[in-house]
Each structure stands twice: as C-alpha cells, then as structure tokens.
C-alpha cells in the first residue's frame, strides 16, 4: 500500500510538474504546482511528517499559491509568447536540467542500498502526533531561529508594502 | 632617534607632506608654484645630508631604519642606502626643484593637481631607492606609476594623452603583477621580505633548491624591471609616454628605477640566474643601443628623437651592468646618474624650446641660434655631455662601461657586442649633432620666423646652469662620486667572481677564469 501510495502521488507530482513546464498560461502552471504540493503533502504524511503535510496545504497551497493566483488575476497575465530568448533558453535549459538530474539520481541510486527503506510513518488514526515534539524543539533548541524568523517576516511585510504601494 | 636614522624617512615623506599641504592650500597658481619649489628645495637640502655623513668604504647599508611594521606576514619598515642608492637619492632630490622651475610656465592651469602629483611621484621614487624590504619596495614601485600616469593623462600634449598614459600604466603594471608573484614566492620559500637577509641567502644559494622555480622567479623580477628601464624590445611605451608627458615628468620617467632595481634585486637575490641571463641582456643592450640610434636618426620630432636617445642610453647602461665587471657596473651606475642629469637637461631645454615655438618638429625649426644664444650654448653643452665628450660626465661613464663590457666573461664575443655598442655611440653623436644643426643653425625655420621667441630667462638659467656645472664637475672629479659607487660595484661584481669559480661553469669559455675582483678598490677608496 505504501508503494502504491508513493507511485500514485509521486507520479501525480511528476505529471503536474511536467504540466507546469509545458503549459503556456501562468495560471495553469500555478494550478499544476498546487497539485504537486498536494501530492507532496500526501508523501510527507507517508513519511511521518503529518504536521508538515498540513502546513504544506495551509501555508503553501492555501496561502502562497493563492497569492500567486491572485497576482496572476490582478495583472491579468496572458499566455506567454515564445520568443527567441525562450528558444535559446530551452537549448541550454533542458540539457542542463537533465544533467543535474542524472547527477543527482546517480548519486542517490548508487548509494540507495545504504539509505534503507522507509516505513509508513505516522498513521493518522493514532492519537500521538509529532507536533508536540516539533513544538518543544522549536521552543527550546531552535528558539532563536524561530524568533529570528519574525524579523524575516517583518522585512517581508515592509518590503511588500514599500514595493507594491502606489506613491501618492 | 638620531638624525641619521630618521633622515631617510624625512626625505621620503617630506614631499608627501608637501603634497598634502598643497592640496589643502587654495588653488592659487603662484602659491602652488612657490610651495612646490620650497618643498622640493628643502627635500634636496635633506638629501645632501647623505653624502655629507656617508661613511665611505663601508659596504653595508647606512642610515638604516629597521622597525617591525606588520607581524604576519613578516614585513618591516626597513630603509637604508648604500653606495648604489645614495647618489640616486641625491640625484632625485636635485632634479625635483629643477623640474618645478621648468614647469613654471609650461603648466598654466590646474597647477595644484600638477604639483601635488609631482611631489607624490617624488616620494615614490625616493622610496624605491631607499626601501630595503621587498614589500615596502614594491609599494613604492607601484605607487610611482600612479602620479605619473595621471600626469600624462591630464597634462599630456595631444589628444592621445589618455592612451599614452594607459599604455605606460599597463606596460608597467602587468609585469609588476608578475613581480609580485615572484616576491611572494620568494617569501614562501624564505619567510622574509628583508633584502639584506635575502641577499645573504641568494649568495649562499639557500633560497630554494628548485632551480626551475628560481629561474622563473628571477625572470619575473627581471622582466618587470626591464620593462620599466626599458630594455629593448620592451620599450613600446617609452616614446609615446615621453612624447606626451610634460617635461618635469619626462625627467623622472625612464631609467633610474628599473636599472636600480635590476642592480639591487635581480643581482642581489638571484646572482646566479642574473649571470646566466647576462649574455641575452648584453645582446639586447647592444641591439638596443644600435636600434635607438638608428631610429633616432630618422625622427623629425625632437621629443621622439630624445626618447630614442634615451633608449640608447639605457641600453648602454644595461650592457654595462650585465658585464658583471667592476668597471662595467661602476660605469653603469655612473651613467644612471649622468643620464638623469644630461637627459634631464636635454628634456628641459626641449621643453623650453616648445614653450617658445609650440612645436617639436625639426622641419619647422631652424636658425634658432641667432635669436637665442644662451639656449644654444646650453643645448650644445648638454648634447656634448649626452654624446660623451671627454672631460664631461658622459665620457667617464661610457668609458668605464665599454671597458667593462670588453672584459666580460659572460658572453662569447665581448668584442662583437662592444663594437656594436660603440657604433651606436657614434651614431648617437651623429643624430644629436645633426639635430643641433637642423634646429639651431641653417636657414630660419617657419616657426621661429612667425613666433618671436625669447632667450632663457633668469628662472631657466637658474634651473639649467647647475646642471651644466655638474657635467663638468662629474667629468673631471669623478672619483668623488666613484668612492661610494665603487664600494657597491666591487661588491656586486666580486660576489659574481666568487660564485663563478665554484658553482657555475662558464658556458662560453672553457677555462673558468675568474674575473679579478678588484679587492683593492675597497681599500683604496678610504
């Protein structure tokens, strides 16, 4: 069942990512990414990261990608046209990406036997969840990163206001 | 701190202080001119302390300052002069006020910039002569490029000045970069930048056992210096730079720094490699003499002619010092000083001529002698000094050099190269005299006809006559100067002789005949 889960949602993610690449309209790409994210959420869950699976859906698909869709709608972005630049880019881009992929997967597969197997991680029916562990880590060992993130968010808010606000 | 230990720092940095003061003063031309004059004169006065208190006969460095500067890498603030550099420092001090005087009228705007840069240049130059730490030396060496480049770029004569400045800078900078690699390599091998220590190590062959690397390092040093001299065929920048640069800059542009550096660093740190490359350098020197003279013959522009004459002179010195004989090195060093004075005087006169007629083109000049008697007098004296007329300074140097090159054991046919060099000297006399003839005598040229020139004024006389006097004094009373120079020359050549016998089989002559080190000279100088 685990393997089936992996292949179904992994395949879905790859297909959606391909679709992202092939679609001409930004909104289709954005929605493809949403599909990728949802499939990944399932995979996260299968690896025992249910909190992240939920966060993936709430933060990524539910907020970040909505923002994308929102901006695409706001700017009424149309289909992208194929230009000379895109041809040049695809000549350089596909082989480059393929090379990186080959390199990475070669390393992973050649060291695959050492990496071992995964077992279906957290079952959602169990009452225990790793959220409490995550949060206790967050507020003890990783307190500083957590607090510093607030500076990051502050900067992002500032930036969004500064850049997007119209000068009166 | 005694005067002796701080005098060198004073000499080096006084012009910089002056430059900063000038930069802070208002841009009033008169103020700037007089300020620069006062500063340079004072510097000259300070330099006179050196010959006055120099202990002749001692070989090491004198007036030394040696304090730690940077802990790691081990860099020290180490200054000092010996027989080689002492007179060069005095010479630089001497030429500076003359340079200021001669620029009095030639520089008619942005005086502040000019004199500030001029003074900065002086610091760099004197710094090169007195620095005994490789890092410090390299600092001054590179520093000397900058004011000169800006001087050429800003005060050059024609529209090609920026290009000439760039050319000058690149020619000097790129080999210097390689020089830095060489220096760093030496440091990596020895752990010191201190010149006296490196000289000892060089003499005892303890810098590195890697011969190929030593060779490359020595080449890195030599090429950088050779470009700065310039040695034929690395002289590409010379004529353009001289053509564009204002007189005062030209006076210090070529020769001294590069030749001094070869003597001090190439010979000091890489004695063996320097001797091995001597045949090539002698050949290049001889070719340079002939080439310079021949090209000078066909020039119509006075400044370019002077530029090629400079190339000839410098090649001559190269020939001398690479003979590795006491006579050759002594003569070479003497010629460096001579060239500074005679060449300087020549350029000053050319500059004065240009101020009057606005051209260096010999075809447009002619018959000037009738109008400017004082100038022609001085010009002829200078030319004769340049040519090497017996009784004037040039003769002493040329004679010593040629005799040195005849004795050398580092080249297969010293006679051949000496002959070529001598031919070059004769040609040199030819073009110089021909130039005098074309400019000062004969029919009145177009320019002198149109423009009413004026003879040398008091300021120019003040600048030029000391030089003329020096020609004679240095020609007649050469031993006075030689005392110090000889102590260096003997050392440089003597070291050669010692290593020669034991380590280095002479490739050209099978008998390992050591060049007789004139060890008595040292005693005789007392």
């Amino acid at each position: 069942m685990h393997l089936a889960l992996f292949f179904i949602f992994g395949g879905l993610a790859v297909l959606a990512a391909l679709n992202l690449l092939l679609q001409r309209h930004p909104i289709n790409s954005a929605l493809s990414l949403v599909v990728v994210m949802m499939s990944l959420a399932v995979l996260y869950w299968s690896l025992g990261a249910e909190f992240l699976a939920a966060a993936q859906i709430i933060v990524y698909s539910g907020a970040v990608m909505v923002l994308f869709v929102f901006v695409i709608m706001l700017l009424n972005a149309g289909e992208e046209e194929r230009t000379r630049g895109s041809k040049i880019a695809s000549i350089a881009g596909f082989p480059g990406a393929a090379a990186i992929f080959c390199l990475l997967s070669f390393v992973f597969l050649s060291e695959g036997h050492k990496l071992g197997l995964s077992h279906l991680g957290g079952s959602l029916d169990e009452a225990s969840s790793n959220i409490s562990q995550i949060s206790s880590l967050l507020f003890t060992d990783l307190l500083l990163p957590f607090e510093v993130t607030s500076v990051l968010i502050l900067v992002a808010i500032l930036g969004a206001v500064v850049l997007a606000k119209k000068e009166r | 701190m005694t005067i002796d230990s701080s005098i060198l720092s004073l000499i080096v940095f006084f012009p910089t202080v002056g430059a900063i003061l000038l930069a802070l003063l208002p841009a009033n031309p008169t103020l700037q001119k007089w300020g620069a004059l006062v500063v340079t004169l004072l510097t000259f006065l300070f330099t006179l302390h050196l010959p006055a208190h120099y202990q002749y006969g001692l070989t090491g460095y004198q007036f030394e300052v040696n304090v730690p500067w940077i802990a790691s890498p081990a860099i020290r603030y180490h200054l000092g002069v010996d027989g080689l550099s002492m007179w060069l420092v005095v010479l630089s001090g001497f030429l500076a006020p003359l340079g200021v005087l001669i620029s009095w009228r030639a520089i008619d705007r942005r005086e502040k910039l000019f004199y500030t840069l001029f003074l900065l240049q002086q610091t760099a130059m004197i710094g090169v002569f007195v620095a005994l730490d490789l890092f410090l030396y390299y600092g001054f060496w590179e520093w000397s490029l900058v004011p000169m480049a800006i001087l050429i770029a800003t005060f050059g004569r024609t529209d090609k000045r920026a290009k000439a400045a760039l050319k000058y800078f690149l020619y000097a900078f790129i080999p210097s970069a390689i020089l830095l690699v060489g220096m760093l390599w030496v440091y990596a091998q020895t752990g010191t930048f201190d010149l006296p220590m490196l000289q000892q190590m060089g003499a005892s062959h303890s810098i590195s056992s890697n011969h190929a690397a030593l060779w490359l390092a020595s080449l890195a040093f030599l090429v950088a210096f050779a470009v700065k001299v310039p040695v034929f065929p690395l002289h590409g920048w010379l004529s353009d730079a001289i053509f564009e640069a204002p007189t005062a800059a030209v006076m210090v542009l070529a020769g001294k720094l590069g030749l001094y550096s070869i003597l001090r660093f190439s010979f000091g740190i890489f004695p063996e490699q320097s001797r091995q490359i001597a045949p090539l350098m002698i050949a290049l020197g001889a070719i340079g003499i002939a080439y310079g003279a021949l090209v000078a013959l066909v020039q119509t522009d006075l400044k370019r002619l002077a530029a090629y004459s400079t190339l000839g002179h410098l090649s001559f010195i190269t020939l001398g010092i690479f003979s590795f004989t006491v006579a050759g090195i002594d003569g070479g060093v003497y010629q460096i000083i001579n060239h500074g004075i005679s060449g300087g005087a020549l350029f000053m006169l050319l500059g004065a001529l240009y101020e009057r007629y606005g051209t260096y083109d010999m075809r447009e000049l002619g018959g000037v002698a009738q109008k400017l008697p004082w100038m022609v007098t001085l010009f002829v004296i200078t030319a004769l000094s340049n040519i090497g007329l017996p009784g004037l300074n040039g003769f002493v140097g040329e004679f010593l050099t040629l005799s040195g090159s005849l004795q050398t054991i580092y080249v297969a046919h010293p006679m051949l190269w000496t002959t070529i060099a001598t031919t070059g000297v004769i040609f040199g006399a030819g073009y110089m005299l021909w130039a005098i003839q074309r400019v000062f005598y004969g029919g009145m040229g177009r320019r002198p006809d149109e423009v009413s020139g004026w003879d040398l004024d008091a300021r120019e006389q003040v600048a030029l006559w000391p030089m003329a006097v020096l020609f004679v004094v240095m020609g007649v009373a050469s031993p006075y100067w030689m005392r110090a120079i000889d102590s260096f020359g003997a050392g440089a050549a003597g070291r050669t002789a010692v290593t020669d016998v034991h380590v280095y089989p002479n490739p050209t002559k099978n008998l390992a005949l050591p060049e007789t080190p004139v060890s008595s000279t040292e005693g005789g100088a007392h």
Binding site: L31, E50, F51, I57, S61, G62, V66, F70, M73, D125 | -
Partner: protein, 351 residues
C-alpha cells in the same frame, strides 16, 4: 459472512461517508429554506410557503429547477477551469465535515461511528481544506472572463487570505487549552462542569470566539462581509456567469461552509456534542439514548449558529471594502494575538 477488521473498517467507513454526505447535503438544502423563512419573518413576510406544508418541499423544487435549467457556457470562458471551479468549491466545502466528531465516542468493533475520520491534526485538516476552497472562488471569477466576476473573485480571495490569519490565530487559544489538534481531544477537554467548562465560558475564550465568528463570516463571504457578491456593485460577483447546476454547486458550497463553520464553532467553543448539563445530571436512559442524545445537543448547537448567521445577514448592513480590510488587519489580527498572549499567560500562571 465474516469480515476481517480491515474489511469492516472500509465498509463502515464507506457507509459513514454516504450517510454523512446525504445528511450534510440535506442540511444544506434546508439551511437555505431556513434562511429564506427566517429572513422572511424578520422582514415581516412569510417566506416560501407554497410548496409542501410550510414550504418544506421548497428545497426539492429548487433542486429540480436548477437541475433542469439549461447549462449555459459563455463563449470566451476558460473552459477547463470554468468547469473545475465549482467542483473545487463544493468538494472542499464538503470534505471538511469528514473530521468533525458529531457525537460522543461510540465504537462498534473498534470503529468510531460518529465521526468519519479521527485525525490527530483534525483542526489543521479543516483549516487546510478551507484554505484550498478559495481556489474555487478565485478560478471561477478569473475563468469567466468577465470583469465583474474578476472583481468579485479578487475581492473574495484577498478577503479570504486576509481573514484566514485571524481565523487561525483565534483558534490557538483553544488549542493551547486542549494541548492537541485532535478535535475529539478538544471536545473532551471541555467536559466536566457542564457548560461552565466550555471554552466559551470556562475557558474564557469568548474573545477567541468573537474573532473566530467574525473571521468565519468573512471566510464564507457572508453578510456583513459579502463584498464579493455585492449585487449592487458586481452583479453577482464571481458566479455571475454561472447557471444551472454549476451555480447550484457554488450555492451549496456556501451553505456547506456555513455548516462547517458552525460545526467548528460548536466543537471548539461550545463543548461539541456534550450536553450543557453534563457532569451535573447523571447519564440516564438506555445505551442507544446515551449515544443519540449528544447528537441532539450537537445539532442544536449547530442550528443555533446557523440561525445566528441568518439573523446577522438580515440585520447588519454590508461593510465597505476598505473597512473590511482594515477591520481584519488592524482590529481582528492584533486582538487575536492579544488573546493568545492572555490565554498563555493565564495558563502559565495557573500551572
């Protein structure tokens, strides 16, 4: 027939899903009727009363009408997305009911029958699915290729994104008290002293509840935050171009969302399926009654929230758009943070 535990689990789960789906859809349909009736009464008129007794068959008639209407597809719409949008909207609205425990734990052979799925991060699931729901609205407006629709969906999506923050934060207090994201645990944390141990009263989470209900109204695009479909400005907002069943799906999604919101409010702030007198009055009656009675309480509470929804719609005027935004960002959000701070302080002091 002898079923293994797994097979039984699957079977019961499917049955549960079917039952819950049917009940939810029926509830949705009758919420519409309820709304029309109540608003009618408030406006001093009858409301629907012709079809069936008291108009009780009205939803059926509406359904038939919408089914049979011609499904118009405007020329220049972005077809796939135009079709997908209402499906997304409705699906998201219905799925979140799956984690709602609508009765007390009652297990048949290890399978809890009064909750479709007991997820240990149930609250996060609800939040996540709700946040996906906005795609339905956003895409519908954009794919309609109509400026009113676009404006409507722009408004809707920005409104939903903005209020999602306050909504999420308002629930933190409850989560802090329960120490779990499991909805069942949250409900169980409110048991002991009848309604006094509900989060709303005993947990002093009335501020949280207030924020939640405000934010939830905005999330569901209901009055007084129904800017996206402000008919006076935007015709019908994002579903202007929709007709027939597709329109019905949006309509159902909206009411299903109301239902979810009411369920969550009940679960988080009002003790879920527990009786208000629980702990004071001992359990009585046979087992089946003990199993059914909590459902009664649950439905009653949900019903009252639905009623509140309708009441608010009938009485409050619509916000202006900038007021809506500044209310969300400048009032609700800081208030929610203050609530979290106060709750955690109180908890820290008590322990």
């Amino acid at each position: 027939m002898h079923l293994s535990d797994f097979q039984l689990f699957v079977l019961i789960t499917i049955i549960k899903i079917a039952v819950v789906l049917v009940i939810t859809l029926t509830a949705v349909a009758y919420t519409v009727l309820l709304e029309r009736k109540v608003i009618g009464r408030i406006q001093n008129r009858w409301g629907p009363s012709r079809v069936g007794p008291f108009g009780l068959l009205q939803p059926l008639a509406d359904g038939i009408k919408l089914f049979l209407k011609e499904d118009l597809m405007p020329m220049s719409v972005e077809r796939p997305l135009f079709v997908a949008a209402p499906v997304i909207a409705l699906a998201c609205a219905l799925v979140s009911v799956a984690v709602v425990p609508f009765g007390q734990t009652f297990k048949i052979r290890g399978v809890d029958i009064f909750e479709v799925s007991n997820v240990n991060i149930g609250l996060l699931v609800i939040l996540g699915i709700t946040s996906i729901g906005v795609y339905g609205i956003a895409l519908s407006g954009w794919s309609s290729n109509n400026k009113y629709s676009l404006m409507g969906s722009l408004r809707a999506s920005s409104q939903v994104i903005s209020y999602e923050l306050a909504l999420g934060l308002s629930l933190v207090g409850v989560v802090l008290r329960a120490g779990s994201l499991n909805l069942r645990d949250i409900v169980n944390s409110q048991i002991g002293h009848g309604f006094l141990s509900w989060n709303f009263f005993g947990g002093l989470q009335f501020v949280g509840f207030f924020i939640y209900i405000m934010a939830a109204y905005a999330e569901t695009n209901r009055a007084p935050f129904d800017l996206p479909e402000a008919e006076s400005e935007l015709v019908a907002g994002y579903h202007t171009e929709y007709s027939s069943m597709k329109f019905a799906m949006f309509f159902m999604a909206e009411y299903a969302n109301m239902l979810t919101v009411s369920c969550v409010a009940t679960l988080l702030f009002f003790g879920g399926a527990s009786s208000p007198f629980e702990g004071w009055i001992p359990a009585f009656g046979p087992t089946w009654l003990q199993a059914i009675l909590p459902i009664f309480w649950f439905v009653a509470k949900v019903f009252s929230f639905l009623f509140l929804y309708i009441w608010v719609r009938a009485t409050l005027p619509r916000f202006r758009y900038d007021q809506l935004m500044s209310f969300g960002w400048k009032f609700l959000l800081p208030l929610a943070m203050a609530n979290i701070l106060a709750t955690s302080l109180v908890m820290a002091l008590r322990s």
